[in-house]
Each structure stands twice: as structure tokens, then as C-alpha cells.
């Protein structure tokens, strides 16, 4: 049915998923740093974080990706030339995951900031008053609640980012979409392969939603559910 190209496409799924999960890790780091900067007392840090989230969210992902890919390449080669390393080729995987992480870090900044703010100060004070150490307060009081508040935003960002990984094919990463293009060219059946790619994305999205809903339920135990309309 797929002219024997199914294993190749599924191997592309592996690339897509690793791009998505590495990007998620990078985005979480950027998001956490951004949230801490936005909540910090320093106006400089707050300013930098605000510029970061505003500019990144005002530009198309694809443009940012091309800027990092080509701009990074030129910058890196200028440095390499000065140091006498010779020509350096920027890795498409690194460029792709770095850009996706950088872009979605800006969105996660808002998610994490909201999650930190949603924890009542009194609970943290109460924790200290009960004799918990700083680390215990973070581990037993802040983190479990932060996860609960951050999960809906996190789920959304993961789903949007998963779909954004399709863009890495444009900068030459050998992901599912790129392989669908190769298989189409070889078999002259582009609909079959692009539709297959779409269905695989849909399956991954569905699984993600199911898993993240289960996690959210796990962390919302003991919280009264508001009446849903």
C-alpha cells in the first residue's frame, strides 16, 4: 500500500519525536528562566524577559528558524575563521531544536509565570512556619501545585510545538515530512504519503492529549472541580 516506504516514514517519526522532545526540554529551560526573570525584582531582567516574549511571539516560527539557521551559520563561521577552525557546518537538528525551544520558551514563560503566581503566598509561609526547609517547601508545596496549574498551558504548547516540528523539514532536517516528500518523488503518490504523515501526527496528538489529561487528573486530586457548563 505504501510501496514499502512505511518503515522509512516511521523512522522519520522517530526524528520528529526526538526533535519535539528535545525542543520541549529546551523550551522548558527558556520558559523557567523567562518566568523567573519576569517575576524578579530586577527591572533589567524583567525588561529582557518582556522583550524576549514580545518579539518571539510577534514573528512567524519559520522566519525565526531561518534566522537561527542561516544567521547562526554565518556567525559561527566568522568565529571559526577568526580562530582558524576552518568551515563549520551548522547541524540542522541543533538549529531546529534550538529555535523551537527558543520560540516555545517564550510561550511557556507565560504558562510558568501564571503557575508560580497561582500558589498562595500563605501556603509557602505556612510551610516555613511548620519547620520545612526551603527545598522541602519547593518539593512538597510549590512544585505539585505548579504542575497542576501549568499542565493545561503545557499541553497546549506541546501540541502546537509538535505540529511546528513539521517546519524543520524546510531547513533540511530528515523528519517525517521531509521523508514523505522523498517517498512522493520516488513513487509519484504524494497524496498517499502526505496524508499518511498527517494521520501519524493526528495519532501522536491524540495520544498526547490522553496522557496529559490523565496527568492533569492525577495532580488535581483533592481539588474541588468547578461545575462545568
Amino acid at each position: 500500500m505504501f510501496y514499502g516506504y512505511l518503515p522509512m516514514i516511521l523512522d522519520g517519526l522517530r526524528v520528529t519525536l526526538s526533535v519535539a522532545s528535545v525542543s520541549l526540554g529546551v523550551a522548558s529551560v527558556f520558559g523557567m528562566l523567562g518566568a523567573l526573570a519576569k517575576l524578579s525584582a530586577s527591572p533589567v531582567l524583567r525588561g529582557i524577559a518582556t522583550i524576549y516574549t514580545t518579539v518571539v511571539r510577534s514573528l512567524p516560527d519559520l522566519l525565526l528558524m531561518l534566522i537561527v539557521f542561516y544567521g547562526g551559520q554565518i556567525l559561527l563561521n566568522r568565529v571559526a575563521e577568526a580562530r582558524g577552525w576552518g568551515y563549520v557546518d551548522i547541524n540542522a537538528f541543533a538549529a531546529g531544536t534550538l529555535t523551537l525551544g527558543f520560540v516555545f520558551g517564550a510561550y511557556l514563560t507565560e504558562t510558568f509565570r501564571g503557575a508560580i503566581l497561582a500558589i498562595p503566598r500563605g501556603q509557602i509561609e505556612a510551610g516555613h512556619a511548620c519547620g520545612l526547609s526551603g527545598w522541602q517547601v519547593v518539593w512538597h508545596i510549590m512544585l505539585p501545585q505548579m504542575i497542576r496549574h501549568a499542565i493545561p498551558g503545557f499541553t497546549n504548547n506541546w501540541l502546537v510545538m509538535l505540529k511546528a516540528t513539521a517546519l524543520v523539514s524546510i531547513i533540511g532536517l530528515d523528519d517525517m515530512v521531509h521523508r514523505a516528500g522523498l517517498a512522493s518523488a520516488a513513487t509519484r503518490a504524494p497524496f498517499t504519503f502526505y496524508a499518511l504523515t498527517g494521520l501519524i501526527y493526528l495519532a501522536v496528538t491524540t495520544i498526547s492529549i490522553l496522557v496529559l489529561t490523565a496527568i492533569e487528573r492525577r495532580y488535581s486530586r483533592g481539588v474541588r472541580r468547578e461545575a462545568t457548563r
Binding site: 510577534s58 516560527d61 512522493s184 504524494p190
Partner: protein
Amino acid sequence: MINWSIVIETLPAFWHGLQITLLLLVISISSGLLLSIPLSVARASANPWIRTPVWLYTYVIRGTPLLVQLFVLYYGLPQFDSVRESALWPLFRSPWFCAWLAFTLNTTAYTTEMFAGAIRSTPAGEIEAARAMGLTRFQVFRDVFWPGAWRRALPQYGNEVVQMMHATALASTVTIVEILRVARDVYTNYLVVPESFGMAAVLYLMLTVILTQGFRLLERHYLRHLDPKASRTQAPPKGKQHIADA
């Protein structure tokens, strides 16, 4: 740092690209808005036979990347002889038609869900009151239901329009020469980043600012009743106190 002669030389191309980007945005957003109004009503319907097909459509579209949707339409459909031999072939052969169709299908799915959420949160009392006053079903929809739902959905809708503007950059992958395609061509010709992608970034930033400010004005107009400052009434003058008491 910046080679201004390249900037001046490529300015006409960027100007043209900007117009193409705006054109793509306007045609997709307007058809998406028109389609999503009836679809959102269907999506919020109590009848599962009406609700479920619309849900399936939005679920599939929202669960797949726009790039893949665009490729399925533009590169994929010509696989079928029936498409190539049909009367619609001149349309499906055109990148413009495919980009418009893909963007419209995409934005319609997101907007439908947004409006359906706003419709579901309509207080039942508003509808009952309107029906009790003898308004017809259509009048209820036009004068009571929709204005409220539109107001509730407006802030989100503004975000969707900005995201759609960013999504038009994908049209560069199907040979449409919009801002990003111009930037990529400038990069290929001169191998410079600030004058190519930097210039595109400036243009997208400008468009984003204009769109968000425009929606802020719309929100100020439509959501005036939620602005505490606007609802502040002046204290009645002393002499006319009895009118307020009456």
C-alpha cells in the same frame, strides 16, 4: 553592519511581498470568519448528528500541521487522475487556490471551536428572555446570541488573526512570493541575514503591532461595558437629586 544599498535595492520586492502577505491574510480570514459562524452554531448544537461531524473536522485540522495540510492539497491532490481531469483542475493547480483553501480550512477549525465555546457560555436566561419577548429564532440569534458570543470570543479571535498572519509565511513553500519568500530570495542572492530575514522580521513585527493595536481598539469598542473607567458615572448635580431618587 547593514548594507543599505541592498536594502534600497530590495525594498520594492519587499513592498510587493508585504501586499501578497496581506492579501493572503485578508482572503483567508474573511472566508474563515464567514464559514465559522454557521459551523460554530452546529458545533454547539445539542444534536449529536450535527455536532459530531463538525467536531471531527476541527479535531483533524487542529491535530495536524498546517504545512502538511498545504502539501496534501497542493502536491498531493494531483496524484489522482480524476482531479487532473476534472473541471476544477485549473483551480487545484494554482498555488494561490491551494494556499487559500488550506489557510481557510485551518483558521475555520480554530475559529469554530472558539466561537462554539463562546456560544456555550451564553447564559440561558438571555435566550429565554428574548424568546419570552416574542423574538423569532433568527432575531434571537442575530440580536442576542451572536453579539454576546462575539464579544466573549473577541480577545481570542484577535490572537487567531495574528497567528494566521504568521502562518501565511508557509505560502512561501508553494512558490507564492510573500514576505518570507522575498527574504529567502534576497538571502540566496546576497548571502546576508540582516538585510533579508532581518528586514522580514521588521515587517512582520510591524504587522503584528498594527493588528494587535487594531484589535485593542475593537475590544475597547465592543467590551466597553467591562472597562471600569468607562462605566464610572458622574455624581448627579445637587439640584437634580430627586430625579435619581425617583
